[in-house]
Amino acid sequence: MIPLSLLISWSHLIVRKRQTLASVLGVAMGVGFFISVSGMMKGFHDFFRTQIIESNAHIVISDEVRHPPRQPAELTYQNAAIQVKRAFPQEPVRGILGASTIIDSLHQQGIAAAPVLRGQVLLRRSGRDAAVSMLGIDPDIEGTVTTLPEDLIAGSLNALNSVPDGIIIGNLLAEKLGASLGDSLIAATPAGIITNLKIVGVFRTGLNQLDEGQTYVHLVKQQSLQNRPRVINEIRIRLPDVAQSIPVASSLETRWGYKAAPWEETNSRVLAVFQIQNLIIYSTVSAILIVAGFGIFNIISTVVLEKSRDIAILRSIGLNSSNISNIFVIEGTVVGFLGSLMGWIIGYGLSWGIEQIPAPGASDPTQTLIVDGSLDRYLLAGALAVITSILAGWLPARKAARLNPLLIVRGAT
């Protein structure tokens, strides 16, 4: 049998059909927007994150150290306050010493790793020029650490082996220089070497930073262009499990002494932007739920006021104060549950709608916006809505429970 408090709650809600429906709709809207908007954000972030992880190495060991080595004078006089004037600081030869040992060791652990010499280059074609980063790579194993082979939209990676002067550039850079596959570019490096390079491949990752600012040549070619024979200044690593990037990176750094940056560190700015976006999105969609909560609070407060006679008689019949407050807490809860259920449907519908919208700026015209529709999102939105509604019912319910029935029965007699 239906408990008394539920029966009375229900009768209050049924009599106020319009107000009840309005507050249920308020919650439903909040839940629906929460699900679809935060899902869209998550879908976008996941997509972007995958792009970053796919197109970049998981860990990059570079020829930097996090703390510069101490100067001889400092080593000699430990703990002393030293001011050395006109001393030439010790400047070690740049590059990763024993890079091939590190790579061999990684390969033995089943971790893909490839050597890189990174340097700057100025590319010029018919009066347009661009200063970009140029990576000397080993074309045979580059595919094991990044998706460069798959990202190529023209030419091939293997061409770097057969064409010694070959260069692979991004599609945005190609546009900027007005060049395409097979064209020649003039390249000038900081080492003072000027030469002609021929475009043997064009790639597109979807990340502007790479598509506009990164180029590839053969490792040996790069070593001669930069005048740094046999030098390697980066080792790019791809892990079987990307989730391990941070612990593996820190153990590599401890073991070899060179800075090993996981992709999270390399892309920390992007990830920070994601976090800020999450903060904005979640506070906005939660605010909608809170507004819906105010609506419920308002309605239940009105009911409590209107029903003070009923409360008084129920108290005299023998309901205690918690029986009374239950009535109104239940009203909030019912609205919260109905709103959540309806909100799930709205959220599902909105998510579907958003997924029909073409992604702005995508080169693939069939690419639409992605909405993450995981169950967690629905449960979280529902839980937030129900908690807000219960709270919105509980505040006036507490007031109802404190109402002195004598003031009513006495006032009427």
């Binding site: 408990p3 008394l4 009375i8 009768s11 006679r309 005299s316 019949i317 029986n323 004598l406």
Partner: protein, 232 residues
């Protein structure tokens, strides 16, 4: 007849800052089982205040109230609510029916709260009670569709829902015409006479009060006459 309710030096003083109002002043009173008692007196003499104390709706500031020999001053709010639910039935000047529920559901409210009977038995009992007050044919209407006299009968049926030992009525006929007032009063008398319930009715209608077996008279919060009808 045994004493089922007894007050010992019962007082209720209302204090708000410097203002001190004595609603009930040192009352000693005994009610026996099956007794039909009227509480009379001028308006503002403290009749309602005394009834609320007897009905555990209010707490005395001094003295004690014994129900079936048990002191009630130390009871918690929950325990007092439990006694009201099990053993007391209230009727007020206004019916205080729940507008959203049918007449039948209104009568079932105390039974549902007690939760001892099944849904079927409750419905059956509620119909019987409505028949006993003469409005079984109104069972499925809403209170708004009933006349004032009919509503007050529903309120009496509701007060009887859990077969209480005591009925407390505060001006139950105050809003009714003479014919209906007499009918309601006869109903209450029948409860005491036929079912042995202890019935206490506050009224300022001396005519009706003279029909009870015992008449108390209050003035300024004090009981000035304990058994007017017998003496008369």
């Amino acid at each position: 007849m045994s004493i089922v309710l007894e007050t010992i030096n019962l007082s209720r003083i209302l204090q708000e800052g410097d203002l001190k109002v004595t609603l009930v002043d040192n009352i000693n009173l005994q009610l026996a089982s099956g007794e039909f008692t009227a509480i009379t007196g001028p308006s503002g003499s403290g009749k309602s205040s005394l009834l609320y104390l007897l009905g555990l709706l209010d707490s005395p500031t001094q003295g004690d109230l014994l129900i079936n020999g048990q002191s009630t001053t130390q009871l918690s709010e929950e325990e007092r609510a439990w006694i009201r639910l099990n053993s007391f039935g209230f009727v007020f000047q206004f019916h205080f029916l729940l507008a959203e529920l049918t007449v039948l559901e209104n009568v079932m409210v105390p039974m549902r709260q007690l939760g001892k009977l099944t849904r079927q038995v409750m419905g059956k009992r509620a119909l019987e009670l409505l028949a006993a007050v003469g409005i079984a044919d109104q069972s499925y209407k809403r209170p708004a569709q009933l006349s004032g006299g009919q509503r007050q009968r529903v309120a009496i049926a509701r007060a009887l829902a859990n077969d209480p030992q005591f009925i407390f009525a505060d001006e139950p006929t105050g809003a009714l015409d003479t014919k209906n007032a007499n009918a309601v009063f006869d109903l209450l008398a029948g409860l005491a006479r036929d079912q042995g319930k202890t019935v206490a009715v506050v009224t300022h209608d001396e005519n009706l009060a003279s029909k009870t077996w015992r008449r108390l008279r209050m003035e300024d919060g004090r009981l000035i006459d304990n058994n007017l009808n017998k003496a008369a």
